[in-house]
Amino acid sequence: MRAAFLLVALLLAPLAVRAAECLAPPAEMRRTHMDILMHDRSAAARDGARRPGHGLDDCITCHVVRDAGGAAVDAADPRHFCTSCHMKVAVSVDCFSCHRATPTEAAR
């Protein structure tokens, strides 16, 4: 019974994260997202400490921009959530030379 409850909770956890607000209000995220990403990337890649909802993957999934056909736009597209701002402020972002810039289309 307890195991079943845990299983359900585990299955629902990603949904809860997805439905939740961003990690911080937009004004704060604009200023601090690079620090959050920088901190978490070392913890995740080197120690395997992955905080649910804090992965780049989670950002991408929530902030996806879709074209008229419904397909997620890639990082090279100026409409991409990260690219739109980074182009404007002329700060290059190299995350997407290794990370995918669009959500995996299969339900995560």
Binding site: R41, A45, G48, R50, R100
Partner: protein, 232 residues
């Protein structure tokens, strides 16, 4: 050859002294946000007598899971090789991948600290720090480190890969951290791959290692590899 088993024996004995502390369910996912722990040492035991020469299920599963195998230059993170004993002509088929050494040469030569050994024994590349010097590719005695020389698109979400960085088998850390088995182990049709925690004396792999002789590849190098083979 002699150093490995002795060390393992000592570790097992150390754990037997304080079983209550360490005998947690190793297969369970770690609590969210917690780091890999030195209380685990992930090991893979490959029984070559059950490995079919014509079967590439592990290789296919790895390629599918991790997303390598696009350009021809993509290194096979795992590959099937045939080992032939010169004196007798006896041939053995086995999968070869990063051996996740306890004393990894790739980590030793890395000038930036990108090549690393996690607390639970998994050897990884932190691509954030990798400058693409390829020292690790040359240092690996198993030719299990590779260099990505072409742009990569449509990576797997759990496996970032990019041009100019080194890469290799991760023992499927993303699955492991979620309490799942590596893709190759799950795909192995012949039951030739046994995965588990070496530091858990009750784990199937610890029992199997105690019951039958096994060896590490290039054992003479004293690297204390986490991947061990039977029937060589």
């Amino acid at each position: 050859m002699s150093a490995g088993p002795t060390r393992r024996g000592l570790l097992a004995a150390a754990i037997a002294v304080a079983p209550g502390l360490f005998l947690v369910a190793n297969a369970a996912p770690r609590p969210p946000g917690s780091a890999a722990s030195a209380r685990n040492r992930w090991d893979l035991l490959i029984d070559t007598t059950r490995c079919d020469a014509g079967c590439t299920a592990c290789v296919d599963a790895c390629r599918q899971e991790q997303g390598w195998g696009g350009p021809a230059s993509d290194g096979p993170w795992i590959r099937k090789i045939e080992a032939i004993e010169m004196q007798t002509g006896r041939s053995v088929s086995l999968p070869l991948m990063c051996q996740h050494c306890a004393e990894p040469p790739c980590v030793e030569v890395c000038p930036t600290g990108a090549s690393l050994r996690r607390a639970d024994g998994i050897v990884l590349v932190d691509r954030h720090r990798c400058i693409g010097c390829r020292y690790c590719v040359m240092a690996c005695p198993f030719a299990a480190r590779f260099f990505v020389d072409a742009e990569v698109h449509d990576q797997r979400a759990a496996t970032p890969r990019g041009k100019g960085t080194a890469e290799g088998c991760t023992l499927c850390v993303h699955r492991l951290d979620a309490g799942r088995l590596p893709a190759c182990v799950e795909a192995c049709a012949g039951g030739a791959m046994l995965f588990g925690d070496l530091l858990d004396p009750a784990a199937g792999i610890s029992q199997a290692l105690r019951a039958r002789a096994s060896t590490a590849l290039r054992a003479e190098l004293g690297l204390d590899a986490a991947i061990r083979y039977q029937g060589l």
